[in-house]
Every structure is written in C-alpha cells, then in structure tokens.
C-alpha cells in the first residue's frame, strides 16, 4: 500500500460522493486499466458487487444493537428504573440486582438479533462467493471469478440457467436475433420468460464478442428501485449516442434461459442494483390487539402511579403520626432524618422501583415468542399446503396473526383468487356469428369432473360427460372407481406442478376446433388466400399476433422441475396426457375411459345437437395432433420441416394466461405463432405458409385503456395493420368505419350481434375480449410514428405521452369478433364463501370484469343467493348517483325496520360498477354509500381500477372502523392488499407482486377458510387470553408487595427475596403462559370449520375487551388480597420474621397464579402437563437450592434454610391449600356458573367436541342448518320491498352510455 496523504483521501472521498450523487453516471470499461491500483480506475467510486445486508459489524454490535433496542419505549422505561435504583435515597433493592431483568431482556433480544444477522451474513457470503465469468484482458478470455469480484465497468458472461450477478447492460448474446430470455421469478415471481435485446449498434454481434474493442462510454441514470424502468445511453468514441432502456438490462437475480450465453457490461453492482434497492425489510404492522394492549399498558402505568402515590402519601402520614424518633427509623449516613414530606417524595420513586413489575417487562418478549410458535404451527398446517405447487402458507408479517381472528370484511379479487386463472378458450363470435365450440366444452367437462373434490355431488347427479365413464366402470367395484378418481387427480396434480413453470397447462393448451368454424376457414382460405382480407383469417391472425406471448422451444426448456419434461405440454396435449398417465403408472386404469369417450360423445350429441351427429371423435390416444387433422381437412399438405421449428415443440409463455389461451386457440385453427422477436412475429397459416410480420410497435396493456394493440406491417399487402384487443366496453366506443366496404351495411349489425354474444358470454361467466383490426394508411402511420418517437424520447411524464399516442392510434377500429374465455372457479370456493359468511364476515368482490361476468361468478360461488335482493347500481352522473343512493338507503332501511324482518339477516346484495363507485366514494357521498353497503350482505364492485380497490378498502375500513382483509393474486391487487388491515396474497398464476406485498401468502382461496376460522380464531383467543393472563399475573403478584406496605409503614420494603422475585417472573411463571399462548386450543379445528359461526366470538372487540381487562384486574386485586391477608391473619402476632413470612406468600401466589392458568387452559396435552408440573418442580428445586446455598448472600433477605423450615411445618401446607382455594373460588365459580347457566357458543362447541365424531358431525349439521334456516326463512315470509322503484327483470344494461338510473331487482 502506498502512503497517501489524508488530504488526498478526503478529496477522493468527496469526489466519490459527488460521482455517486450525480444524476447521470459516466462509466467506462475497466479493461484498459486492468492491473492498475484502485484509485486510478475510472469506476472506483462505485461500490463493488459484494453485498452486505447485515445490520451490524462484529465490533459495533453491542452499541448498535442497544441503540436499536432503546427505540422501544418500554426498554427505556425499564432502564430508567434500573438507573433510579442507583440513587441511594430511593433504592429499594440492591442496585446491581435491579439491572438483572432488563439485562436479561436486552441480551435475549440481542442474541436473537445476532442470530438473525449471522444468518444474513452467511447468506451474503454464500451469494458473494457464487462463481461467475468476468473478462480478463490478461487472459484474453472470460475467467471464473466470484460475484464479489464483479465491479462496475466489467464485462460479465452469463451462461444459460445462471443467475445474473449484477445489473448488466446486454451487449452480446448467443442468439442470432440479439435476444436474451430471462426469467424474473427471483425478483417478482413471474415465471414467464421475458425478452431482453442487446444494445444495437454498439457492438457488432460477431460470433465472438470482443470486450476489448468496447471503447464507448456508458452514461446511465442514478440507481433507483424501479424494476421496469431504466434510462441510459452509450456514447461512442465518435460522439454518436445510442439510447437503451430496460429492454437491454439484465437485472441482478434474474436467470438466463433459452440463451446459450450473454455478455453484459456492469452498470450497477452490489447494493446499487435494482434488485437490492427493491429489497425492503419485513413490513411492520401493528395488530388491533397490540394497539389495545398498548392502551392497557398505559392503564397499568396509571395504576402504578396511583399505587405509588398512595405509598408516598401513606409514608408521609405514617411519619407524621409518629410521636418521636423510634429506633427503627434509620437516619442517613450523617445521622440526619429527612422530613416526612421529603421522605414521602422519595418514597414515590422507591415505590415505582418496588412495583415496577406491574408493567410487565417480559410481556413484549413473551408475545414475540408466542408469535414465533404460532407462525410455526400455521406454516406447518398440512391443510394449508398445496399439493399442486408444493407451497405452504407463508407468514410474511410477523405480528398480525391475531388479526386473522377478528376480520369483519373481506375484499376479494375475482380472477385468480376466486377462480383458477387458468384460462380456457371456450367460444368465439366472428363477424356477428357465434361458434359455440361444443366439443371443446365437453372435453373440458370430462377433464374437469374427476378432479373436483365433490365426488358426492357428482355421484348424486351424474353429468352427461360421465355417462361413458360410468358405463365403463359399471362392472368394476366401487373401490376401483375411487382408484380412477385418485389417479386422475394425481395426473392433474402433476400437470399443475408443471404449470408452475409456465402458465399453459394441458387444459389450456388443448382446444378442439369448432367444426363449423373450420369449414368457414377452409372456405375463406381457398377464396381469398392471396389477399388475406377475409375477416375470419384476420380474426385468427389477430389472435396469434396481438399479444406479448413469448415462444420458447421445448428443446431449450427450463430446468425447473426435473421430474417431468415440459416439452410435452406444447406437443399434442393428449399425448402429453397419456404420457403423464403412463408416468404415474395408472395406464390400465385410465385407458378404458378414454377409449370409451367417442361413444360418450355420440351420446351427448344425440340428445343435444342433432346436426352434429357426424362429429368425428375429436380425441384419440395415438395418432397425430389436431393441427395435422386440420390440415387434412383443409386439403393442404402439412408443410413441415421448413424450418427447425415444428409446431409440436413450441410452448407459449404469456404474462397473462388469457393471452396464452388465445394463442393456443389460434393454433388449433392452424394459425400457429412460431416465433416472436421484438421486431417481428412469425405465424404459420393453415396453408403451411409462414408469414413474417414486421412489428412496428406494441401498445402495451394498461389498466386505464384496458386494451392493447400491435402494429404490424403485413408481409404480403405491405399495409400497416393495427390489431387491437380489449375489454368490450372500451373497444365498442372506438369502433369506426366499417371493416370493408362491402360489409358496410352489416357493420352496425355485427356490432350489435357481437355485443349480444358478449353479454351471453358474460352471463355464463366467461371473460370476454373484443378483437379489432385497423388498416393505417402510410401517411397516418408516418405522422403518428413521429409523435410516438417523440413521446418515447421524452423525459418528463413520458408515460402519459406514450399513452396519449396509443390512444391517438386506437380509433376507428373495425370489429372482427369476440372471444369468451373460461376461468373456472377454484375448488371449494362456494363452501369457503358460505363458511366465511356464516362466520359473520362480509365478503366483497372487487373485480375489473364486466358486471354480468361478476354477477354470474357471484351466483356460482354463492356470494349471491337465489333469494337475494340484488341492487344493481349504475349511473352516469353524480346527481343520479346521489338520488339513487338516497332512495336505496331509504328502501333498505324500511326493509330492515319492517317488523316482519326484525329477526332476520338482511339478504340484500349490491352490485356497483366502477364509474358509479367513483361517485359513491367521493367525499360527500362516502357516508351514504358505506351506510348502504353496511346493510348489504354482499357487495360486488365491477370494472374497478386498482386504485379504486384500495379506495374502497380504505373507505370501509375507516368509516365503519372494522377489521378488513384483502385477498388478491395480481399486481392490480397490490394497493388493495396494502390498504387493508390484513393483506393476503394468493401465489397464483399472475406472478408474485401480490404475494410480495402481502402479509400472508396462500396458494388457494379455500385455504382462507382454515386460515381465518381456525388459525385466526386460535391465534386471537390464545394471544388475547395470554395477554389478559399476563396482566393479571403481574398485578396479582406485585400487589402482594403493595399490601405489605400497609404493614411496614409504606417504607417500600419487600418480604420476598429479590432474586426469588426475579426468578418468579423469569423462570417459574414465564413458560406456562407462553405455552398457553402457543398451544391452547379452546375448540377443535373440526368444530371451528364445521360451525363457522364460532368465529364471531373474535370479531369486533372480541374476547379482549375493556371489561375483560378490568375484570381480570379486579380478580388480581382480590386474589392478591386473599394471598396476602390470609397468611397475615394466620401469622399475626407470632414470631414470624419478614422473609419467613414472604416464603409462604410467594408459594401461595405461585400456586394461585399457576392454578388460575389451569382454569383458563382449555385442553391439556402432554406438553401442558410437562410445562405445568415442570414449573412447580422448578420452583421448589430452585428455591430449595437457593435457600440451602445462600448463607450470607443477598442481604438483607438472606433466605438461608427458610423454605426448608417452612416445608417441615404443617401450617405451611394448610395455609397454601386454603389460601389457594379461597383465591380461586370466585373465578372458578364464575366459570362454572357461566358455563352452566348461559354457555357461550364456544362452550357449547367444546361440549360437542367431546362427543364421538359421528354424533358430533350430526350435531354440527343441526347447528348449522338451524342457522341456515334462520337465514333463509325471512325472505320467504316477508314481502320483498321496492314498490316505488322500477323493477326490471333484465339484468343487462341497455347501453352503458345511456343509462342514467338503473336499478334492478332480482328474484331468481
């Protein structure tokens, strides 16, 4: 090391600081400087790639950790007390001894922090030592180094399936198109492949990239945490600037896929990478219980001060009353006695020290321990484990478990949350003609049926698809049948496991073409193949092109699941299926049913559609795939081997599952998407011809436009064609000139027909999309293109400008058709919703979907009931909205006040659309809306934006002051999840953003049921009871000392050895409440699931209320009185000494406190017994040992041989017995009388729990049905309201544009 002047060091530091703070960074290649000392390097100011996420360093651990810990108010309080003990005039105990509790607490916490930090250190080290390839000039090649050696300005090579070590500007890839595929699942959980393209024009994409030839400067922005945005340009030596964005950046943490290798220039390293900047610590939320707890701690403080004041005043009065100077008043060192008032003043502080345990020092530590235990049990629940994705429930927020037991409102997303978000193409409408895809529907039904868990229901009413199935298994015994189910399920599960890697599962990939449509296409192909203006062909081209699906080759598949090859997915789905079946070893079971399928199909077509008699069996086990058959149908020879790509080994990866479904649908009709690069799309037509479309621009999807477009140049016609797809209501407004001149008359008709079909789809619960096409003239394109470039290059509000240009282009669209995609309900959703509702939780659904779709799903998942009164709110302006709210509210009020409805639950449901919601949530209408919503059982909000979702949650949460839970799976639910008290993310198909933002992550909606009803209830009751007990325990114990003050002249003396007092709290009585908080089980899980109503006990104030707190406080006072004064009376006027008197008190108090807990414990397992008996044993062993060893230690208490003597005295035992009995009698009696005379539902449930399972189930059913009837009955008895308002049977909007007031009621 060369010596450098401190001045130079400071200068360098400042320079480095400046370089880092600059808005734009100038980076240069490190290679020319290789081997030079660090200060001479151009990029030396930027941090290296070694990361350090540890909070502490070895040397500074203690001060830093202490500093952290003293942010907690309680710790400061206790340290203050300990310091107070060092003031001689007020000290109640040995000063050193007073430090022990706080030291134990602090060191325990420090130990925990240290362990956590050590784990972080280990993972850092592991990460930093991960190997990677860095270019070295000396070696003239990439050499193997470690992640920590990577520096800004280096060239790094990443090979396939490797993780990118730092943020790299992509300069070279092995791909001829200059594309590199990455998977960002490590960052955002999205498992689909994303394309990154290398910077064009900077480096020649020679077969071998020469890093040394790179002599340009890279100028990039300051590091920021936006994963989707990056701005930089490369300045070549000739001053030419080439811009680059996020599309050329490989982010640290991504995995390179499907690309042999890629070389990048390091722009950000280590802690400056986007991944690291995005890495926030765990979120800190405070649960409702904890907030309440804090107010109670304040009550305790007030109580403490009152008691201290009493002590101070008492001491003053006591001193005043003394006639002289008694020998027991000890003057200070100088023989001087303080005046009574001054002594009283000092006594106040002495009392604080003496009674400090009233504020439970160990409470916070105990709560954390309890939470760790609760998390352990939640994450280990086998019922919350999803077989398909092999994921457990994750608790991301560590301190709001108990909130799960108090939820009153659930806000749920629909897609992906209630539904699978596995999109299946169902039907389409082209040019106003509907194609029903019946065969496809049948196939889906077959696939679906055996998987569902409701075998019972299915057995009762076999659906048509099961006919063949049941015929087949007629002769086999029922066990065999079950076997079939099992195997089917297994194979489905493996399918799911695969779909973990990509969205397209077997179900979605396979589409059986509609016959009529096939013929139509044949016709179109033959007639106008040259010009390609046929709307049918355009429709499917749109399907294939208008998306952002990435095509990946099965050969370069990702290596995620080792067991199964994903190539199968893309190939003929049936082969896949059978191969899967083979793999799971169930061929012999599964085959018969498949062979019988044709027969079954025929049966169906016979009794359903006559004309489809001659439908070919669409499914075969062996033979070529659908596409091939299609080709034969079209009389075209299948044109294979034109390129290496064959349709069979393609797999599609889409950001949203609808897109993949549509591409698969197009493929089924022969329009195969073969490749997609940023600049081109290759589509194989049914004729076998491969068309390469030049992609000029992609107007990506956003939630405001609700559509996306792709602008391509048609390779044959050379026209600029814009394909747009989007939600029907946005598209319908943009329709302009007719599609083609000769169709002009029909255009209006087509739109109307299509709209009709769309409405039908929506009613069926399908997701609808409209497809349009627009031919852009050359001139228009050029002028638009200029605008677009300008917008893209803009620096200020770029996003807005880009969106504006998109809107500019998307006008005058001509409608091609519409698609209906099915998104099935997840398993057990209706049951879950029913259960949640019985649990007193209002379930709201907030969805971006159409009203009709949402309502339909609402019925399907029993959110809406047939008997319900459904209020449909949709209005165009605020005035209408206001009056409507008022009317409805009035109506609903009258309905609920109707004497006939008094004892009923309201069965009113509200359906509201996004636009109306915006008005209803405006500040002046908010109250009325919430008031109305409060009276509704269900609210469905349709077509809402993410922002509205969070607004709804916030408004309800704040206006009604209720506990809210939001559950969602997509990025659009993030704001809602964050707004709610408890956010739950479903790790589903749409990436992980929701999970990242959530407090808990589950994999299926149905898990919510157990999570809330069982774990929520348990966590809440456990913690609430533990807290109450904790307060009780401290008060009961400390009050012994307080009562003693009345007999010792309020002198602040203690009759219990201080060490024993510490042990008492720290060891003897600390474990039982913690175990109680972790393991107590008031009602069994089966019972809680069976009778969701039990959940209501936790809602609102729950068990931990103001009264319970004070009742237990009073009980504590009573018990301490008994524990003190019975021994007092027994030992009055005897020769007992201070600490001998304290020993039975301590023991009695110990037993009272433990037995009090055992009254509260609801279920005694082995652990309970061990802990309780262990505590008793510990108490006696420690105390006996202590009093045997301590001869002169710990003055003045000197416990030597005291307990031994006491235990030899029968009085001790007699006293212990009677005092404990008297102390606990009232509580015991209270419990007994309450449980006998007015048992709470929980007690009833516990009674049922003790019955044998079959009787219990019977009783549970009775209980539920009793409630059920109570809920249903009223709507039949009472007359439905609303005579004043117009009633329409039709649920649909006539037209959303014209409806000012629409208010529908439904009696299904």
């Amino acid at each position: 090391m060369t010596w450098r002047s401190p001045l130079a060091l400071v200068r360098d530091a400042l320079r480095g600081q400046r370089a880092r703070e600059k808005d734009l960074r100038n980076l240069a290649s490190n290679l020319p400087y290789e081997g030079l000392e660090k200060a001479k390097q151009p990029n030396c100011y930027f941090p290296g790639n070694a990361i350090k996420t540890t909070k502490y360093t070895l040397l500074l651990f203690i001060p830093m950790n202490l500093f952290e810990q003293f942010h907690r108010l309680a710790n400061i309080y206790f340290v203050g007390l300990a310091i107070l003990n060092f003031v001689p005039v007020v000290s109640a105990f040995e000063p050193g001894v007073a430090l022990i509790p706080i030291c134990v607490i602090l060191s325990l916490t420090a130990l925990k922090d240290a362990l956590e930090d050590f784990r972080r250190y280990q993972s850092d080290r592991k990460l930093n030592n991960t190997p990677c390839f860095i270019y070295s000039r000396k070696e003239q090649q990439f050499i193997k180094r470690h992640w920590k050696d990577v520096r800004v300005g280096d060239f790094v090579k990443v090979v396939c399936n490797e993780i990118v070590p730092a943020d790299l500007l992509l300069l070279h890839t092995s791909d001829p198109n200059g594309v590199c595929h990455i998977e960002t699942s490590n960052l955002d959980g999205e498992t689909n492949l994303k394309q990154r393209k290398m910077m064009s024009g900077v480096c020649m994409s020679d077969p071998e990239f020469e890093p040394e030839s790179f002599n340009s400067a890279v100028v990039c922005e300051k590091p920021n945490n936006n994963l989707n945005y990056f701005k930089c340009y490369v300045e070549k030596p000739n001053k030419e600037k080439v811009g680059a964005g996020i599309e050329s950046l490989l982010l640290r943490g991504c995995t390179v896929r499907n690309t042999d290798h890629a070389v990048g220039f390091v722009v950000y390293a280590g802690n400056e990478t986007k991944a690291m900047l995005n890495n926030k610590g765990p979120r800190y939320k405070r649960s409702k219980l904890e907030r309440k707890l804090n107010t109670d701690v304040i009550f305790c403080v007030i109580l403490l001060f009152t008691m201290c004041l009493i002590g101070a005043l008492g001491h003053f009065l006591w001193l005043q009353a003394l006639p002289g100077v008694p020998p027991y008043l000890v003057p200070d060192g100088n023989g001087h006695l303080d005046s009574p008032s001054l002594s009283g003043f000092y006594m106040f502080f002495t009392m604080i020290i003496l009674l400090q345990i009233l504020i439970p020092i160990s409470l916070y530590v105990s709560i954390e321990l309890v939470r760790i235990g609760q998390i352990f049990f939640i994450t280990n629940d086998i019922d919350l484990h999803d077989e398909g994705t092999d994921s457990r429930v994750q608790c991301k927020a560590l301190n709001i478990m108990e909130d799960l037991g108090q939820i009153e409102y659930i806000f749920s997303d629909k897609t992906g949350t209630l539904t699978e978000n596995k999109m299946v193409f169902r039907r389409c409408s082209i040019m106003g003609t509907e194609y029903a895809h019946k065969e496809n529907a049948i196939r889906l039904a077959v696939l679906d049926v055996p998987v569902s868990e409701e075998e019972v229901i299915l057995n009762q009413q076999p659906r048509p698809p099961r006919i063949g199935w049941s015929l087949d298994t007629e002769d086999s015994n029922p066990e065999d049948k079950w076997h079939h189910h099992d195997n089917r399920r297994k194979s489905k599960v493996t399918g799911n496991a695969q779909s973990d890697a990509a969205f397209s599962s077997l179900l979605e990939a396979e589409v059986i073409p509609d016959r009529k449509l096939l013929q139509q296409i044949c016709r179109a192909e033959s007639s106008s193949s040259s010009r390609n203006i046929d709307p049918y062909l355009d429709f499917f081209l749109g399907l294939a092109i208008c998306n952002t699906v990435v095509v990946s080759m099965a050969t370069a598949r990702r290596q995620r699941v080792s067991g199964f090859s994903r190539s199968d997915q893309a190939s003929n789905p049936l082969d896949t299926f059978s191969s899967l079946v083979k793999k799971s070893g169930s061929l012999q079971h599964i085959f018969p049913s498949w062979q019988h399928k044709p027969k079954k199909n025929r049966t169906i077509s016979e009794d359903s559609v006559e004309e489809e008699d001659h439908v070919k069996p669409p499914v075969k086990i062996e033979g070529s795939g659908n596409t091939n058959k299609l080709h034969t149908c079209l009389l075209h020879a299948p044109s294979d081997n034109k390129s290496a790509m064959t349709p069979d080994n393609l797999s599609y990866e889409a950001e949203s599952p609808d897109e993949a479904a549509l591409v698969y649908a197009a493929k089924a009709y022969g329009f195969t998407l073969l490749a997609r690069t940023p600049d081109s799309v290759t589509v194989r037509l049914p004729s076998g011809e491969d068309l390469v479309f030049e992609v000029l621009d992609t107007l990506t999807f956003d939630y405001n436009r609700k559509r996306m477009s792709v602008l391509v140049r048609h390779p044959i016609t050379k026209e600029y064609v814009l394909y747009t797809k989007g939600a029907d209501h946005t598209i319908m407004e943009l329709l302009g000139t007719p599609y083609a001149e000769h169709l002009s008359g029909k255009q209006k008709n087509i739109a109307a027909n299509t709209q009709h079909h769309l409405d039908c789809y929506a009613k069926e619960g399908l997701r609808t999309l409209c497809f349009t096409k627009k031919v852009v003239s050359d001139k228009a394109y050029e002028s638009w293109s200029v605008n677009r470039q300008r917008a893209l290059a803009a620096i200020d509000n770029r996003e807005e400008l880009v969106m504006d240009t998109a809107v500019q282009l998307e006008t005058d669209l001509s409608l091609l058709g519409a698609t209906g995609i099915e998104d099935r309900l997840q398993e057990s959703v209706p049951e879950t919703i029913m259960a949640l509702r019985e649990a007193g939780i209002q379930v709201w659904v907030l969805t971006g979907d159409k009203t009709e779709t949402a309502v339909n799903i609402g019925y399907a998942c029993r959110l809406l009931e047939e008997e319900d009164l459904v209020i449909n709110m949709s209005c165009a302006n605020k005035f209408a909205c206001t009056s409507m709210l008022d009317c409805t509210l009035e109506e609903v009020r009258r309905y609920s006040e109707d004497p006939r409805n008094v004892d009923t639950t309201q069965n009113i449901s509200l359906v509201i659309d996004g636009r109306t919601l915006t008005m209803a949530l405006s500040s002046d209408l908010q109250k009325r809306f919430v008031d109305l919503a409060k009276r509704c059982r269900t609210v469905l909000c349709c077509r809402v934006t993410p922002l509205q979702k969070s607004k709804v949650v916030t408004v309800v949460r704040e206006q009604l002051n209720v506990m809210t839970l939001a559950v969602g799976d997509g990025a659009n639910d993030v704001s809602m999840i964050q707004a709610a008290d408890v956010g739950i993310g479903i790790s589903g198909q749409e990436g992980m953003q929701a999970v990242m933002a959530s407090d808990f992550a589950i994999s299926r909606f149905k898990h919510l049921k157990k999570l809330l009803l069982v774990h929520g209830h348990w966590c809440y009751t456990r913690l609430a009871n533990m807290l109450i007990y904790f307060f009780y325990k401290n008060v009961a114990y400390v009050n012994l000392l307080f009562w003693h003050q009345f007999l010792c002249g309020f002198s602040g003396s203690a009759m219990i050895d201080y060490w024993l007092m510490i042990f008492f709290n720290l060891f003897f009585t600390s474990v039982p409440p913690i175990m109680f908080g972790i393991m107590d089980k008031d009602v069994s899980a089966e019972m809680l699931l069976g009778v969701p109503e039990l959940y209501r006990t936790g809602q609102g104030a729950g068990e931990y209320t103001f009264t319970t707190f004070w009742v237990s406080m009073l009980d504590a006072f009573y018990q301490s009185l008994v524990c003190f004064f019975i021994p007092y009376l027994a030992y009055r006027d005897s020769d007992i000494d201070v600490f001998t008197f304290g020993t039975p008190l301590n023991t009695i108090s110990f037993f009272t406190i433990l037995l009090h807990l055992s009254i509260e414990i609801k279920a005694w397992t082995v652990v309970h017994w061990v802990v309780m008996l262990g505590s008793v044993a510990l108490y006696f062993i420690v105390t006996l040992a202590y009093s045997a060893i301590c001869v002169t230690c710990n003055p003045p208490s000197n416990p030597y041989w005291i307990l031994q003597r006491q235990m030899a005295d029968p009085m001790f035992y007699l006293l212990c017995i009677i005092t404990t009995v008297v102390a606990l009698l009232p509580r015991y009696m209270f419990h007994v009388l309450r449980n006998s005379i007015a048992p709470s539902p929980l007690v009833k449930a516990r009674h049922l729990d003790r019955l044998d399972p079959s009787t219990r189930d019977q009783c549970m059913k009775e209980w539920r049905s009793f409630r059920g009837i109570a809920q249903v009955r009223p709507s039949r008895l009472s007359t439905p309201p609303s005579p004043t308002l117009e009633t329409t049977v039709d649920i649909h909007h006539h037209s959303s544009a014209t409806s000012d007031i629409m208010w529908d009621e439904h009696h299904h």
């Binding site: 629940d381 086998i382 092999d390 995620r560 652990v1167 000197n1198 009677i1218 009995v1221 449980n1235 009775e1262």
Partner: protein, 367 residues
C-alpha cells in the same frame, strides 16, 4: 430479514446457482404429526355445574374436619399475656416508663404479679411482645452486615455501608453494626412462682434453644477461631445503645458474642409491626408435675427498653405450643368457613345442574 428476495429462495434450495440439473426437489409438505398438526390427544375439561359438583363437596367434606381439628388444637393451647408497658398510672411499670432514656445507667425494675388459672402441662415458651415496632421497615431491615455476623474478620473491622450510620462510633467499627443490633431488646424478664405458702420460687428459664439451629450454627459465628471473645472483638466498639459489649452478653461462651441466642432472635426481623419473639423456654421437669402449676406468679422486669417514641407496647407471653405453633384460632375458623361455603356452593350448583344441566348434556344449540 433475508438478504433479498432471491436470497430467500436460494436458501430454500429452489435455485441452483449454476449448471443444469435444477433445484433439489424437496417437498415442502409439512409433516403430518400430531404435534405439528395440533392434534395431540388432550384432556378437555369443561367447568360446568355437573362436572365440578364433586369437587365442591369433597372440599367441603375435607375442610370442615380439618378446620375443627385446627380449632380444637388451637383452643387447647394455653396462653397468658401480660402487658407491662406502663402507660397506665396504675401500672407497676409506670415510673420506669416515664423516666427513661437509652443511656440511663440506673436500671429500673418493676414487678408485675399475675395469676394463672390453669396449670401449663408441657413446655412453656416465654415470649416478649412488641407492638407498633416496625422491624420490617425497609431501611431498618437492611441495616445489618451479615458477613460480620457470620464471623468475617474483614467485615468486623470495616462493616458494610448498609450499617450506616451505625457502622462506626468514635472511629471504631461497631460490632455488631447496624440499626437492628443497635435497637436490640434489652429488658430482662424474670419469673417467680409465688408458692401458696408465701415463698417466691424463681422459675428456671432456659436461654438456649430459642434460636434457629441453622442460625446459631451456620449463619452466625464469632470472628476468628479465637476462643477468647474479648480478644476477638479487639478494636471494635459496642453499639451506641448497648450497655455491654457483644462479648459480654452471656457468661456461657457457647452463647456469647454473635451467637448469643437472644441476639440471634432479635436479628431475625419480625414480619409485622406487632410481633413476639421467643425469650426463654421453661422446660417440663417431669411428667407428673405441671411445668407451671396454677397459682400466683410474679414477673420481674428490668425496664430498659423505651417504646414511647413509637407508642409501642411491651408484653410478656407465656404459651404452650402444639404442632401448629402458637395459639391462633384463625386458621381453624377459616377452614370451617371455607368448607361450609364450598358445601353450600355445592348445593347451589346441584340446583343449577338440575335446572340447566340437561340442556347442556343434550348439546342443544338452538338456545
């Protein structure tokens, strides 16, 4: 908590950092054990009238006899108490109590006659009782040096700070130091039996056996191995209020110095402001003659101890003891009361059970 999101995944073994082969396929399925699934077999008691009925009756039936036993035992204990504070003009000790100070050199003696109306058969314990004396005052309790009392030579010469201001007197360490020792009870009590024929027979009072064995033999000890106590306590001075140094408390070397039993008894500070302390034991001579026959007695008090500064009272108590200690009817009464209450509650619960019990048993939920 975790280094970063992908770190977290890394740890779970889901991403292998380099090379093909994929992650290790370790199922995250939780173990299906009774403990982890919270299905441990459990005893689930429900406190209802029906289930706890027996407990109440058992408690009632157990407590009442115990109470009666305790009460009878307590009643059989004979106890006699004389207050000799002398606040009353009529009291023989009135004079002594008036002209008094800690340092008065002239001892004041008073004689109190009393009559025992029943003979005391077994060993009789002689207590002195003080009331309103707060031996449990925080600073008083602390004002001692246990290691000094244990015989530690260092502590003897430099008493602990806790003893302040009774640690040094005229620059000499006080032995024993502290306020407790300083305020030691120093009345002398003597008991005479007035024979019906007029003679005053002194009753022999046993000075040993009144302290805890462990105190005398373990906790307290004279400094050094020096049998000559005067030499052992060389260089120390007596507590200010004492008349004699500590090594002159008793003639018997086994009961002198720090192991003097009167001293040890005093050092065990009383728990409550009204207390008694064992002073002497009158041992039973033979099974034939009662320890204290019925008749007239005289108590002779050398009145040294001042109690007027705190309105205290001084008493002498003669008591026999039983297995449960001194006379205290409270525990017996308490047991009887609690037993009866429990019995009564048992009956109440029986009624409750009769009225509400059936409803619960049939698990009727539709209240």
């Amino acid at each position: 908590m975790m280094a970063s999101s992908y770190n977290a995944k890394d740890e779970d073994g889901h991403i292998t950092v380099s090379g093909p082969g994929g992650g290790t396929l370790r199922s995250k399925k939780p173990e299906n054990t009774a403990f982890k699934q919270q299905r441990l077999p459990a005893w689930q008691p429900i406190l209802t009238a029906g289930t706890v009925l027996p407990a109440f009756f058992i408690i009632g039936l157990l407590f009442i006899p115990i109470g009666i036993g305790l009460f009878v035992t307590s009643n059989n204990i004979k106890e006699f108490e004389v207050d000799y504070t002398g606040v009353d003009m009529s009291s023989p000790c009135f004079n002594c109590s008036q002209n008094f100070s800690w340092n008065s050199t002239r001892p004041c003696t008073c004689t109190i006659p009393f009559y025992l109306d029943q003979p005391y058969e077994s060993n009789v314990y002689v207590y002195y009782g003080l009331s309103n004396f707060y031996q449990n005052h925080r600073r008083y309790v602390k004002s001692r040096d246990d290691s000094q009392l244990n015989g530690d030579v260092n502590s003897l010469m430099s008493p602990s700070k806790e003893c302040e201001p009774y640690a040094f007197h005229e620059n000499k360490p006080i032995a024993p130091c502290g306020a407790i020792a300083n305020s030691m009870f120093n009345d002398t009590l003597e008991l005479f039996y007035n024979d019906p024929n007029g003679t005053r027979i002194p009753i022999p009072l046993n000075t040993t056996g009144i302290a805890w064995w462990t105190d005398k033999h373990v906790k307290f000890g004279n400094p050094g191995g020096n049998p000559n106590l005067t030499a052992a306590f060389q260089g120390t001075t007596k507590p200010v209020n004492w008349r004699r140094p500590v090594y002159e408390l008793d003639a018997d070397p086994g009961n002198n110095g720090f192991i003097n039993e009167d001293f040890i008894v005093w050092m065990r500070t009383a728990a409550l402001p009204t207390f008694r302390k064992l002073y002497r034991i009158i041992n039973k001579k033979s099974s034939m003659v009662p320890t204290l026959p019925r008749g007239n007695y005289t108590l002779e008090v050398v009145y040294n101890y001042p109690v007027r500064s705190f309105e205290g009272r001084k008493r002498v108590i003669l008591s026999t003891i039983s297995w449960m200690g001194g006379k205290n009817p409270f525990l017996g009464i308490a047991y009887i009361t609690v037993g009866s209450v429990c019995f009564f509650l048992g009956v109440v619960l029986l009624i409750v059970h009769h009225k509400c019990g059936n409803r619960n048993n049939s698990a009727d939920i539709s209240n």
